[in-house]
Symmetry: C2
Subunit: 198 residues, 2 copies
């Protein structure tokens, strides 16, 4: 006795989502089969609309409905400071800190020799191009504090210093081995205040 | 700095799925935004197809693409024994046991005085109607062994005995407080062999 083929297929596809095991995929699938029609529509609609309308900002690669994104087009921001983060989620976390009023750049990941992620797999060339054209005075590196984020920070710092731009790394306050996205606002705020030249 | 409104909406909808917390919903949402278009299509398509084509069998209420389902239309099955389960997932678990060759009935839940789930909220009337018309000789009650499943089993046994039909409950082998769906085949097999009259 097996599950109907179409349920099996749904479980297989949902199982591939991050953090979803086979049992969770099964539970979600049967839940979706039982949901009222209007709730399923809401679910599918929210995914489709977000996929259609959310784009990468062509200037900072943040996710946004507009291009340039609201941050890049905000004239009240300090345009000479650039905070480099790995992901749009990290940008949201840093963005909660009121003390920071500069711009951002989303790398789209971190260097990882073990996983064969090299400089060409993330937006390092685009970052360098931006630094050269946008008259940036300081780059704050806010990559994660795990080994990949640290390697990326060191790699970036070397390149950026050669461009005669000040490079800082988020300072004390950040626990080692963590993910910027999950840090609380006070911790990130302290880290910005205590940032150190690299 | 907040997430784009459409991302926020997607997170809100995904957060309502069972077992998905706010952080997991965020992680899934950003993952879906980054997925290749054909994978998103597969995900949405598998949900839509399953929703459209998977129905309840009008005889046993199992989920199936056909009506009656493959089990109810299988002429080689013993039609006088009926195994009553709470959910289609439980049916799949019992169905893995080769020793059982009877039919099924899916209640669609269990009685729960605390959650105000009464006999009219699950398919007890439909089960009784089926017992009266289908010449069933024995009902094996395979509801979960938690308090709701036990209450349901006792309630069903009283009614079914009045119809002069033999009622049994899955016997030893089932750990108490568990969910049938997660029991292994050997445990379910033993429970069927050791079923007791109620």
């Amino acid at each position: 006795m097996n599950r109907p083929m179409l349920v099996e297929k749904m479980v297989d596809v949902i199982k591939k989502l991050p953090g979803v095991g086979p049992k969770m995929a099964e539970r979600l699938s049967y839940h979706i089969l039982k949901m009222p029609e209007n709730e399923v529509e809401k679910l599918l609609d929210s995914i489709q609309k977000a996929r259609q309308r959310i784009k990468s900002c062509s200037s900072c690669y943040n996710l946004s409905e507009q291009d340039p994104c609201p941050i890049c087009s905000d004239t009240s921001r300090e345009k000479r400071i650039l905070c480099v983060v790995e992901t749009p989620q990290d940008l949201i976390a840093v963005g909660k800190v009121k003390e920071y009023n500069g711009l951002y750049f989303v790398l789209g990941g971190a260097l990882s020799p073990l996983e064969a992620v090299g400089p060409k797999d993330i937006r390092i060339d685009k970052l360098i191009k931006k630094l050269k054209t946008d008259n940036i005075g300081e780059v704050i590196i806010a990559t994660d504090t795990d080994s990949k984020g640290e390697i990326t920070a060191i790699y970036l710092a070397e390149i950026i210093k050669k461009l005669n731009i000040k490079v800082t790394r988020l300072g004390y306050g950040l626990p080692m081995g963590g993910d910027i996205e999950y840090a609380d606002e006070v911790t990130i705020s302290r880290a910005i205040a205590g940032r150190k030249e690299m």
